[in-house]
Symmetry: C2
Subunit: 178 residues, 2 copies
DNA sequence: CGCCGCTATTCTCTCAGGGAATAGTGGCCG
DNA sequence: CGGCCACTATTCCCTGAGAGAATAGCGGCG
């Protein structure tokens, strides 16, 4: 069960909906989340139906093309409940491109390259951090926007701290890699 | 170009290698990174070869099955250079399951559920943070291990800060979502 | 009347992720 | 000395994610 599938199940708890509506709801509820393409909504709904977690709840046609309503089933509610009850594995493996890039830069090109990358990345992160802070304090920002921005901000800040300490260790790291 | 593909290109700058060797090098250089299955190494190498970024550099057989050596090409070196020159987009969208779970918990079940989740997740993160700190200061930890652990640690810490502030805002957020 | 834009869905293609299957070689143990 | 296990090395298969293009009906507008 992917993240998207669980979110769709969650959105369906507010009542039967069709694919297009779900995609709109996803965008509205999780505006800063990874974009979800229409194609994926229907694909995911198909898998959920196949697995008995959602069921067709009629079709209608109101001034437009056919649309198929889907409703969450009891099995779907159970799966959703399990997902909500389960804590996310806290960073079992660092899936960050930052670390990979530093290591590869050291292997392929030496410490100058790694230092250059770290410095450039730090500048980009700092700029983005400023943008997000502005966005968060901008008038008209909903609380949902604020907590989403906050999450991005704390992670950018985390990266920045790591970038700084790693920059200080590049020489030493280079010796170890060689 | 996926992350894995770029890392493989980077590893090949140390000289021609075959798939199995590359997988070992990957595990050695990026021990805390997302695990890379053997199957994927060969698949990725195939695509790299198709795109002219690596080339076959002979086959040999030394006490074992056939093995195909691959070498990076000039085009491959160019692509790798571009990748290293490019800063990673700093958190363009929050791809965190934490945020999604909180929002879905609120929609599907109300603020009690969201609070329960946040509390449980905070406990799990705190425990993991302690583990990683121990691991980092353990004797025999290489500098590579330390910077990998550091990256995980700063992000766990970031999550914890977010979990705390979000916990304080659950009631307000619930009103907004309803 | 023809075209644009919106709703709604389907289709297609490639890649990622994972696991199992195959195959050769060397060493160990009974 | 025959069988079995471990290791090296690769291939194959299947599901699902991701991204986009294609289709199709309907309403409005110039």
């Amino acid at each position: 069960m992917s993240l998207a599938a669980n979110v769709l199940l969650g959105l369906l708890t507010t009542g039967p909906q069709h694919g297009y509506e779900l995609k709109r709801a996803y965008d509205a509820r999780l505006p800063r989340a990874r974009p979800l393409a229409f194609g994926q909504v229907y694909g995911t709904l198909g898998r959920l139906q196949r697995d008995g977690l959602v069921a067709e709840a009629g079709r209608d046609r109101e001034g437009g093309p056919d649309r198929t309503l889907f409703d969450i089933t009891d099995a779907g509610r159970a799966v959703l409940g399990d997902w909500l009850d389960t804590v996310e594995p806290p960073a079992p493996h660092v899936s960050s491109a930052l670390l990979a890039k530093v290591v590869v830069a050291l292997i392929a090109d030496g410490d100058e390259r790694a230092r250059g990358y770290l410095t450039a990345q730090r500048a980009a992160h700092t700029a983005r951090l400023r943008e997000l802070t502005a966005l968060k304090t901008a008038p008209g920002a909903s609380l949902g926007d604020v907590i989403a921005a906050d999450l991005a901000i704390v992670h950018l800040d985390a990266d920045l701290r790591w970038l700084r300490t790693t920059l200080d260790r590049v020489a030493e790291l280079h010796r170890e890699v060689r």
